[in-house]
Protein backbone atom coordinates (compact mmCIF):
# COMPACT_ATOMS: atom_id res chain seq x y z
CA UNK A 1 0.00 0.00 0.00
CA UNK A 2 1.30 3.44 -0.87
CA UNK A 3 1.23 6.34 1.56
CA UNK A 4 -1.61 7.91 -0.41
CA UNK A 5 -3.70 4.76 -0.16
CA UNK A 6 -2.91 4.36 3.55
CA UNK A 7 -3.91 7.93 4.41
CA UNK A 8 -7.10 7.77 2.39
CA UNK A 9 -8.02 4.44 3.97
CA UNK A 10 -7.51 5.80 7.48
CA UNK A 11 -9.65 8.84 6.64
CA UNK A 12 -12.44 6.61 5.35
CA UNK A 13 -12.29 4.37 8.44
CA UNK A 14 -12.34 7.38 10.79
CA UNK A 15 -15.32 8.94 9.00
CA UNK A 16 -17.17 5.63 8.98
CA UNK A 17 -16.59 5.30 12.72
CA UNK A 18 -17.97 8.79 13.32
CA UNK A 19 -21.05 8.06 11.22
CA UNK A 20 -21.56 4.72 13.01
CA UNK A 21 -21.43 6.25 16.50
CA UNK A 22 -23.67 9.22 15.63
CA UNK A 23 -26.15 8.85 12.78
CA UNK A 24 -26.44 5.05 12.82
CA UNK A 25 -27.24 4.87 16.53
CA UNK A 26 -30.35 6.97 15.91
CA UNK A 27 -31.61 4.47 13.36
CA UNK A 28 -32.98 1.43 15.16
CA UNK A 29 -35.14 -1.24 13.61
CA UNK A 30 -36.44 -3.82 16.12
CA UNK A 31 -33.86 -2.42 18.55
CA UNK A 32 -30.96 -3.09 16.15
CA UNK A 33 -28.70 -0.47 14.56
CA UNK A 34 -26.98 -0.82 11.18
CA UNK A 35 -23.22 -1.40 11.26
CA UNK A 36 -21.31 0.43 8.53
CA UNK A 37 -17.95 -0.84 9.82
CA UNK A 38 -18.90 -4.25 8.39
CA UNK A 39 -19.37 -2.96 4.83
CA UNK A 40 -15.89 -1.40 4.64
CA UNK A 41 -13.89 -4.64 4.23
CA UNK A 42 -16.54 -5.97 1.86
CA UNK A 43 -16.21 -2.93 -0.40
CA UNK A 44 -12.40 -3.04 -0.17
CA UNK A 45 -12.34 -6.72 -1.10
CA UNK A 46 -14.66 -6.13 -4.06
CA UNK A 47 -12.66 -3.24 -5.42
CA UNK A 48 -9.05 -4.06 -4.65
CA UNK A 49 -8.75 -7.77 -3.91
CA UNK A 50 -8.13 -10.03 -0.93
CA UNK A 51 -5.00 -8.35 0.48
CA UNK A 52 -6.58 -4.90 0.62
CA UNK A 53 -9.86 -6.40 1.83
CA UNK A 54 -8.08 -8.11 4.72
CA UNK A 55 -6.04 -5.01 5.58
CA UNK A 56 -9.06 -2.69 5.59
CA UNK A 57 -11.02 -5.25 7.60
CA UNK A 58 -8.25 -5.37 10.18
CA UNK A 59 -7.95 -1.58 10.49
CA UNK A 60 -11.71 -1.02 10.58
CA UNK A 61 -12.09 -3.76 13.18
CA UNK A 62 -9.40 -2.31 15.43
CA UNK A 63 -10.98 1.15 15.15
CA UNK A 64 -14.41 -0.24 16.07
CA UNK A 65 -13.02 -2.30 18.96
CA UNK A 66 -11.40 0.77 20.52
CA UNK A 67 -14.89 1.98 21.42
CA UNK A 68 -16.59 -1.31 22.28
CA UNK A 69 -16.76 -3.14 25.61
CA UNK A 70 -16.48 -6.48 23.75
CA UNK A 71 -13.19 -8.45 23.29
CA UNK A 72 -10.55 -6.18 21.78
CA UNK A 73 -9.41 -7.60 18.46
CA UNK A 74 -12.53 -9.63 17.71
CA UNK A 75 -13.89 -7.18 15.12
CA UNK A 76 -10.41 -7.03 13.56
CA UNK A 77 -10.30 -10.82 13.20
CA UNK A 78 -13.77 -10.99 11.66
CA UNK A 79 -13.07 -8.01 9.36
CA UNK A 80 -9.82 -9.61 8.17
CA UNK A 81 -11.48 -12.91 7.33
CA UNK A 82 -14.52 -11.34 5.63
CA UNK A 83 -12.49 -8.83 3.61
CA UNK A 84 -10.09 -11.52 2.44
CA UNK A 85 -12.87 -13.93 1.54
CA UNK A 86 -14.80 -11.34 -0.46
CA UNK A 87 -11.66 -10.30 -2.35
CA UNK A 88 -10.60 -13.88 -3.06
CA UNK A 89 -14.00 -15.11 -4.21
CA UNK A 90 -15.34 -12.22 -6.31
CA UNK A 91 -12.55 -11.15 -8.71
CA UNK A 92 -13.51 -8.36 -11.12
CA UNK A 93 -17.21 -9.11 -11.32
CA UNK A 94 -18.16 -5.90 -9.47
CA UNK A 95 -17.20 -3.85 -12.51
CA UNK A 96 -19.29 -5.78 -15.00
CA UNK A 97 -22.25 -7.35 -13.20
CA UNK A 98 -25.05 -5.03 -12.16
CA UNK A 99 -26.21 -5.41 -8.59
CA UNK A 100 -23.28 -7.69 -7.78
CA UNK A 101 -21.92 -5.41 -5.05
CA UNK A 102 -25.35 -5.26 -3.40
CA UNK A 103 -25.69 -9.05 -3.36
CA UNK A 104 -22.18 -9.59 -2.03
CA UNK A 105 -22.67 -6.95 0.69
CA UNK A 106 -25.90 -8.67 1.75
CA UNK A 107 -24.36 -12.13 2.03
CA UNK A 108 -21.00 -11.03 3.45
CA UNK A 109 -22.63 -8.86 6.13
CA UNK A 110 -24.81 -11.75 7.26
CA UNK A 111 -21.75 -14.00 7.39
CA UNK A 112 -19.83 -11.34 9.29
CA UNK A 113 -22.50 -11.03 11.99
CA UNK A 114 -22.75 -14.80 12.41
CA UNK A 115 -18.98 -15.19 12.55
CA UNK A 116 -18.75 -12.42 15.15
CA UNK A 117 -21.39 -14.07 17.33
CA UNK A 118 -19.83 -17.53 17.09
CA UNK A 119 -16.25 -16.38 17.68
CA UNK A 120 -17.43 -14.19 20.54
CA UNK A 121 -19.17 -17.17 22.14
CA UNK A 122 -16.00 -19.23 21.72
CA UNK A 123 -14.10 -16.49 23.56
CA UNK A 124 -16.48 -16.70 26.49
CA UNK A 125 -19.10 -14.12 25.50
CA UNK A 126 -21.94 -16.66 25.55
CA UNK A 127 -24.52 -13.87 25.59
CA UNK A 128 -23.64 -13.11 21.94
CA UNK A 129 -25.78 -16.08 20.98
CA UNK A 130 -28.68 -14.93 23.17
CA UNK A 131 -29.30 -11.61 21.44
CA UNK A 132 -31.94 -11.55 18.71
CA UNK A 133 -29.41 -12.74 16.13
CA UNK A 134 -31.97 -13.00 13.37
CA UNK A 135 -32.91 -9.34 13.71
CA UNK A 136 -29.26 -8.27 13.85
CA UNK A 137 -28.41 -10.26 10.71
CA UNK A 138 -31.39 -8.91 8.76
CA UNK A 139 -30.97 -5.27 9.75
CA UNK A 140 -27.19 -5.16 9.26
CA UNK A 141 -27.32 -7.08 5.96
CA UNK A 142 -30.11 -5.04 4.41
CA UNK A 143 -28.58 -1.74 5.52
CA UNK A 144 -25.19 -2.71 4.09
CA UNK A 145 -26.77 -3.91 0.87
CA UNK A 146 -28.27 -0.43 0.49
CA UNK A 147 -24.90 1.15 1.26
CA UNK A 148 -22.96 -1.15 -1.07
CA UNK A 149 -22.97 1.21 -4.06
CA UNK A 150 -21.64 4.29 -2.23
CA UNK A 151 -19.23 2.10 -0.24
CA UNK A 152 -17.69 0.67 -3.42
CA UNK A 153 -17.20 4.17 -4.81
CA UNK A 154 -15.55 5.35 -1.59
CA UNK A 155 -13.35 2.23 -1.51
CA UNK A 156 -12.34 2.81 -5.13
CA UNK A 157 -11.37 6.41 -4.29
CA UNK A 158 -9.27 5.24 -1.33
CA UNK A 159 -7.65 2.09 -2.69
CA UNK A 160 -7.37 2.29 -6.48
CA UNK A 161 -4.68 4.57 -7.99
CA UNK A 162 -5.97 7.04 -10.63
CA UNK A 163 -4.04 5.27 -13.43
CA UNK A 164 -6.05 2.11 -12.86
CA UNK A 165 -9.27 4.12 -13.02
CA UNK A 166 -8.24 5.25 -16.52
CA UNK A 167 -7.30 1.71 -17.56
CA UNK A 168 -10.64 0.39 -16.40
CA UNK A 169 -12.49 3.12 -18.29
CA UNK A 170 -10.48 2.29 -21.43
CA UNK A 171 -11.34 -1.42 -21.15
CA UNK A 172 -15.02 -0.58 -21.12
Amino acid sequence: MTARVTIRTLVVVALALLVQSTVMLDIRVAGVSPDVMVVLPVAAGLVAGPVEGAAVGFVAGIAADLLLPTPFGLSALVGTLVGFSVGALTGEAVRYVRGFATLVALVASAASVMLYAVLGAVLGEAQFLRVDLGAVIVVVSVANALLAGPSVRVARWALVPPSEHVQAAGRR
Partner: protein, 284 residues
Protein backbone atom coordinates in the same frame (compact mmCIF):
# COMPACT_ATOMS: atom_id res chain seq x y z
CA UNK B 1 10.10 -19.34 -23.74
CA UNK B 2 10.23 -17.23 -20.53
CA UNK B 3 8.15 -18.38 -17.62
CA UNK B 4 6.26 -15.73 -15.64
CA UNK B 5 6.30 -16.10 -11.87
CA UNK B 6 3.97 -13.21 -11.00
CA UNK B 7 1.03 -15.44 -10.08
CA UNK B 8 2.80 -17.65 -7.50
CA UNK B 9 4.49 -14.55 -5.89
CA UNK B 10 1.13 -12.80 -5.60
CA UNK B 11 -0.48 -15.90 -4.10
CA UNK B 12 2.33 -16.13 -1.52
CA UNK B 13 1.93 -12.44 -0.65
CA UNK B 14 -1.82 -12.82 -0.35
CA UNK B 15 -1.57 -15.83 1.93
CA UNK B 16 1.19 -14.23 3.99
CA UNK B 17 -0.90 -11.10 4.52
CA UNK B 18 -3.87 -13.15 5.65
CA UNK B 19 -1.83 -15.25 8.06
CA UNK B 20 -0.08 -12.22 9.54
CA UNK B 21 -3.31 -10.28 10.08
CA UNK B 22 -5.14 -13.26 11.57
CA UNK B 23 -2.26 -13.99 13.94
CA UNK B 24 -2.10 -10.32 14.88
CA UNK B 25 -5.83 -10.24 15.63
CA UNK B 26 -5.63 -13.42 17.72
CA UNK B 27 -2.62 -12.02 19.60
CA UNK B 28 -4.50 -8.81 20.37
CA UNK B 29 -7.50 -10.77 21.61
CA UNK B 30 -5.26 -12.95 23.79
CA UNK B 31 -3.35 -9.97 25.20
CA UNK B 32 -6.51 -8.05 26.01
CA UNK B 33 -7.99 -10.98 27.93
CA UNK B 34 -4.89 -11.73 30.06
CA UNK B 35 -4.21 -9.92 33.32
CA UNK B 36 -1.09 -7.86 32.86
CA UNK B 37 -1.23 -7.19 29.15
CA UNK B 38 -4.83 -6.03 29.42
CA UNK B 39 -3.47 -2.90 31.12
CA UNK B 40 -1.73 -2.07 27.86
CA UNK B 41 -4.85 -2.49 25.73
CA UNK B 42 -6.88 -0.60 28.31
CA UNK B 43 -4.38 2.24 28.07
CA UNK B 44 -4.68 2.31 24.29
CA UNK B 45 -8.49 2.38 24.57
CA UNK B 46 -8.25 5.17 27.12
CA UNK B 47 -6.11 7.34 24.83
CA UNK B 48 -8.41 6.62 21.89
CA UNK B 49 -11.41 7.56 24.01
CA UNK B 50 -9.80 10.83 25.13
CA UNK B 51 -9.18 11.76 21.50
CA UNK B 52 -12.43 10.48 20.07
CA UNK B 53 -15.05 11.60 22.62
CA UNK B 54 -14.76 15.37 22.08
CA UNK B 55 -14.62 14.80 18.31
CA UNK B 56 -17.75 12.65 18.46
CA UNK B 57 -19.61 15.22 20.57
CA UNK B 58 -18.79 17.95 18.09
CA UNK B 59 -19.74 15.91 15.05
CA UNK B 60 -22.90 14.63 16.73
CA UNK B 61 -24.15 18.18 17.02
CA UNK B 62 -23.90 18.51 13.26
CA UNK B 63 -25.09 15.04 12.27
CA UNK B 64 -27.86 14.71 14.86
CA UNK B 65 -30.55 16.21 12.59
CA UNK B 66 -29.55 13.76 9.84
CA UNK B 67 -29.82 10.82 12.21
CA UNK B 68 -33.18 11.99 13.43
CA UNK B 69 -34.34 12.41 9.82
CA UNK B 70 -33.51 8.78 9.04
CA UNK B 71 -34.96 7.62 12.35
CA UNK B 72 -38.15 9.47 11.52
CA UNK B 73 -38.25 7.90 8.06
CA UNK B 74 -37.88 4.41 9.55
CA UNK B 75 -40.56 5.01 12.18
CA UNK B 76 -42.76 7.33 10.12
CA UNK B 77 -46.11 6.01 11.38
CA UNK B 78 -45.12 6.20 15.01
CA UNK B 79 -43.67 9.67 14.51
CA UNK B 80 -46.92 10.89 12.95
CA UNK B 81 -48.96 9.60 15.89
CA UNK B 82 -46.59 11.16 18.35
CA UNK B 83 -46.79 14.47 16.50
CA UNK B 84 -50.57 14.48 16.83
CA UNK B 85 -50.30 13.79 20.54
CA UNK B 86 -47.72 16.51 20.99
CA UNK B 87 -49.83 19.06 19.13
CA UNK B 88 -52.70 18.34 21.52
CA UNK B 89 -50.42 18.65 24.51
CA UNK B 90 -48.92 21.89 23.25
CA UNK B 91 -52.41 23.33 22.86
CA UNK B 92 -53.23 22.33 26.46
CA UNK B 93 -49.99 23.75 27.81
CA UNK B 94 -50.35 27.14 26.11
CA UNK B 95 -51.01 29.85 28.60
CA UNK B 96 -49.14 28.01 31.35
CA UNK B 97 -45.67 28.84 32.46
CA UNK B 98 -43.74 25.61 31.92
CA UNK B 99 -40.22 24.59 30.98
CA UNK B 100 -39.58 22.34 27.95
CA UNK B 101 -40.52 18.63 28.08
CA UNK B 102 -36.90 17.61 28.00
CA UNK B 103 -35.96 19.93 30.87
CA UNK B 104 -38.97 18.78 32.93
CA UNK B 105 -38.13 15.12 32.36
CA UNK B 106 -34.50 15.67 33.25
CA UNK B 107 -35.52 17.60 36.37
CA UNK B 108 -37.85 14.85 37.59
CA UNK B 109 -35.17 12.26 36.75
CA UNK B 110 -32.69 14.16 38.90
CA UNK B 111 -35.26 14.46 41.67
CA UNK B 112 -35.82 10.69 41.65
CA UNK B 113 -32.05 10.18 41.71
CA UNK B 114 -31.89 12.30 44.86
CA UNK B 115 -34.61 10.13 46.44
CA UNK B 116 -32.28 7.14 46.16
CA UNK B 117 -29.76 8.94 48.38
CA UNK B 118 -32.14 8.39 51.32
CA UNK B 119 -31.59 4.62 51.17
CA UNK B 120 -29.51 3.54 54.20
CA UNK B 121 -26.98 1.67 52.05
CA UNK B 122 -26.34 4.69 49.82
CA UNK B 123 -26.46 7.54 52.32
CA UNK B 124 -22.84 7.03 53.30
CA UNK B 125 -21.49 6.60 49.76
CA UNK B 126 -19.95 9.22 47.52
CA UNK B 127 -21.94 9.72 44.35
CA UNK B 128 -20.78 11.06 41.03
CA UNK B 129 -23.63 12.42 38.91
CA UNK B 130 -23.05 11.86 35.21
CA UNK B 131 -24.86 12.46 31.97
CA UNK B 132 -25.38 9.67 29.47
CA UNK B 133 -23.67 10.75 26.25
CA UNK B 134 -24.22 7.80 23.97
CA UNK B 135 -25.62 4.35 23.63
CA UNK B 136 -23.44 1.38 22.83
CA UNK B 137 -22.17 1.13 19.28
CA UNK B 138 -22.55 -2.67 19.28
CA UNK B 139 -25.66 -4.78 18.79
CA UNK B 140 -24.06 -7.46 20.98
CA UNK B 141 -23.60 -5.44 24.16
CA UNK B 142 -26.08 -3.31 26.07
CA UNK B 143 -24.08 -0.43 27.47
CA UNK B 144 -24.13 3.35 27.65
CA UNK B 145 -21.31 5.88 27.85
CA UNK B 146 -21.28 8.54 30.57
CA UNK B 147 -19.30 11.77 30.74
CA UNK B 148 -17.35 10.99 33.93
CA UNK B 149 -14.22 8.86 34.24
CA UNK B 150 -11.22 8.08 36.44
CA UNK B 151 -10.35 11.76 36.83
CA UNK B 152 -13.80 12.32 38.35
CA UNK B 153 -13.55 9.45 40.82
CA UNK B 154 -15.35 6.77 38.82
CA UNK B 155 -13.74 3.31 38.86
CA UNK B 156 -14.35 -0.05 37.22
CA UNK B 157 -16.86 -2.01 39.25
CA UNK B 158 -18.74 1.00 40.65
CA UNK B 159 -22.50 0.43 40.73
CA UNK B 160 -24.59 2.89 38.71
CA UNK B 161 -28.07 3.97 39.74
CA UNK B 162 -30.66 5.82 37.72
CA UNK B 163 -34.05 7.25 38.60
CA UNK B 164 -35.80 4.48 40.51
CA UNK B 165 -33.06 1.95 41.06
CA UNK B 166 -29.97 0.14 39.89
CA UNK B 167 -29.08 0.64 36.25
CA UNK B 168 -25.84 -1.28 35.90
CA UNK B 169 -22.13 -1.29 36.64
CA UNK B 170 -19.04 0.50 35.36
CA UNK B 171 -17.06 -1.90 33.16
CA UNK B 172 -14.64 0.51 31.48
CA UNK B 173 -13.32 3.75 32.95
CA UNK B 174 -11.07 6.13 31.02
CA UNK B 175 -9.86 9.57 31.97
CA UNK B 176 -13.09 11.46 31.29
CA UNK B 177 -15.63 8.90 30.13
CA UNK B 178 -16.84 5.53 31.34
CA UNK B 179 -18.88 2.66 29.99
CA UNK B 180 -21.82 1.30 31.99
CA UNK B 181 -22.99 -2.28 31.43
CA UNK B 182 -26.77 -2.15 31.89
CA UNK B 183 -28.82 -4.73 33.79
CA UNK B 184 -30.21 -6.05 30.53
CA UNK B 185 -26.80 -6.92 29.08
CA UNK B 186 -26.21 -10.66 28.65
CA UNK B 187 -23.17 -10.55 30.94
CA UNK B 188 -25.02 -8.91 33.81
CA UNK B 189 -25.51 -11.09 36.90
CA UNK B 190 -26.65 -9.53 40.18
CA UNK B 191 -27.31 -11.13 43.56
CA UNK B 192 -30.76 -10.08 44.78
CA UNK B 193 -33.06 -10.65 47.73
CA UNK B 194 -36.84 -10.59 48.01
CA UNK B 195 -39.60 -11.60 50.38
CA UNK B 196 -38.26 -12.71 53.77
CA UNK B 197 -34.59 -12.69 52.86
CA UNK B 198 -34.83 -15.15 49.97
CA UNK B 199 -31.83 -14.97 47.66
CA UNK B 200 -31.58 -15.34 43.91
CA UNK B 201 -29.52 -14.24 40.91
CA UNK B 202 -30.86 -11.68 38.43
CA UNK B 203 -29.51 -12.40 34.96
CA UNK B 204 -29.59 -10.11 31.93
CA UNK B 205 -30.46 -11.66 28.56
CA UNK B 206 -30.41 -8.92 25.92
CA UNK B 207 -31.76 -5.42 25.35
CA UNK B 208 -35.53 -5.44 25.17
CA UNK B 209 -35.82 -8.92 26.69
CA UNK B 210 -37.04 -9.53 30.26
CA UNK B 211 -34.54 -10.30 33.00
CA UNK B 212 -34.36 -13.85 34.36
CA UNK B 213 -34.38 -14.66 38.05
CA UNK B 214 -32.40 -17.87 38.63
CA UNK B 215 -31.92 -20.24 41.58
CA UNK B 216 -35.35 -19.79 43.17
CA UNK B 217 -36.50 -23.19 44.50
CA UNK B 218 -39.95 -24.31 43.41
CA UNK B 219 -41.28 -24.17 46.97
CA UNK B 220 -40.29 -20.50 47.53
CA UNK B 221 -43.27 -18.13 47.56
CA UNK B 222 -42.89 -15.36 44.92
CA UNK B 223 -45.57 -13.07 43.61
CA UNK B 224 -45.83 -10.87 40.51
CA UNK B 225 -44.98 -7.28 41.36
CA UNK B 226 -42.52 -8.23 44.09
CA UNK B 227 -39.49 -5.93 44.23
CA UNK B 228 -35.99 -7.41 44.07
CA UNK B 229 -33.19 -5.54 45.84
CA UNK B 230 -29.42 -6.04 45.81
CA UNK B 231 -28.34 -8.62 48.38
CA UNK B 232 -24.91 -7.17 49.14
CA UNK B 233 -23.43 -10.64 48.68
CA UNK B 234 -21.66 -11.75 45.47
CA UNK B 235 -18.33 -10.64 46.89
CA UNK B 236 -19.77 -7.21 47.70
CA UNK B 237 -20.14 -6.18 44.07
CA UNK B 238 -23.12 -3.99 44.98
CA UNK B 239 -24.19 -2.35 48.24
CA UNK B 240 -27.26 -4.03 49.74
CA UNK B 241 -30.77 -2.68 49.54
CA UNK B 242 -30.85 -0.96 46.13
CA UNK B 243 -34.09 -1.63 44.24
CA UNK B 244 -33.25 -3.47 41.04
CA UNK B 245 -36.26 -5.06 39.35
CA UNK B 246 -39.89 -6.03 39.69
CA UNK B 247 -41.19 -9.58 39.10
CA UNK B 248 -43.35 -9.77 35.97
CA UNK B 249 -44.10 -13.49 35.71
CA UNK B 250 -43.78 -16.61 37.82
CA UNK B 251 -44.05 -20.12 36.44
CA UNK B 252 -43.63 -23.42 38.21
CA UNK B 253 -42.93 -26.37 35.94
CA UNK B 254 -44.01 -29.72 37.34
CA UNK B 255 -40.95 -31.70 38.33
CA UNK B 256 -38.51 -28.81 37.97
CA UNK B 257 -36.29 -27.89 40.90
CA UNK B 258 -36.50 -24.11 40.32
CA UNK B 259 -39.21 -21.65 39.42
CA UNK B 260 -39.09 -19.79 36.07
CA UNK B 261 -39.29 -16.10 36.93
CA UNK B 262 -38.92 -13.02 34.76
CA UNK B 263 -38.54 -9.43 35.89
CA UNK B 264 -38.22 -5.94 34.47
CA UNK B 265 -35.81 -3.24 35.67
CA UNK B 266 -37.26 -0.60 37.95
CA UNK B 267 -35.06 2.11 36.42
CA UNK B 268 -36.14 3.29 32.97
CA UNK B 269 -33.15 2.04 30.97
CA UNK B 270 -34.56 3.16 27.60
CA UNK B 271 -34.63 6.83 28.50
CA UNK B 272 -31.51 7.34 30.57
CA UNK B 273 -30.26 10.92 30.70
CA UNK B 274 -28.64 11.22 34.13
CA UNK B 275 -27.17 8.52 36.35
CA UNK B 276 -25.15 8.33 39.55
CA UNK B 277 -21.99 6.26 39.84
CA UNK B 278 -21.48 5.13 43.44
CA UNK B 279 -17.91 5.11 44.70
CA UNK B 280 -18.05 1.65 46.23
CA UNK B 281 -15.07 -0.31 47.50
CA UNK B 282 -16.89 -3.58 48.06
CA UNK B 283 -17.79 -5.31 51.32
CA UNK B 284 -14.78 -3.92 53.24
Amino acid sequence: MARTVAKPKRSRRTLTTLVVLVLLSVSIITLSETGRASVLTSGVKSIASDIYSPLRSGVNGVLDPIGRFFAGAVHYGAVEQENEKLRAQIAALQGQRASTRAAQRQYSELQRLLQLDKLPALSSLTEVVAEVTSLTTSDFANTVTIDKGRNDGVSIGDPVVAAGGLAGQIVLSYHHVSTVRLLTDGQSKIGVTFGRGEEATLVGVAAGKPLQVDYVPAATPVSVGEVLTTSGLQGGAFPPGIPVARVTSVRTVVGAADKQITAEPIADLDGLSFVEALVWSGSS
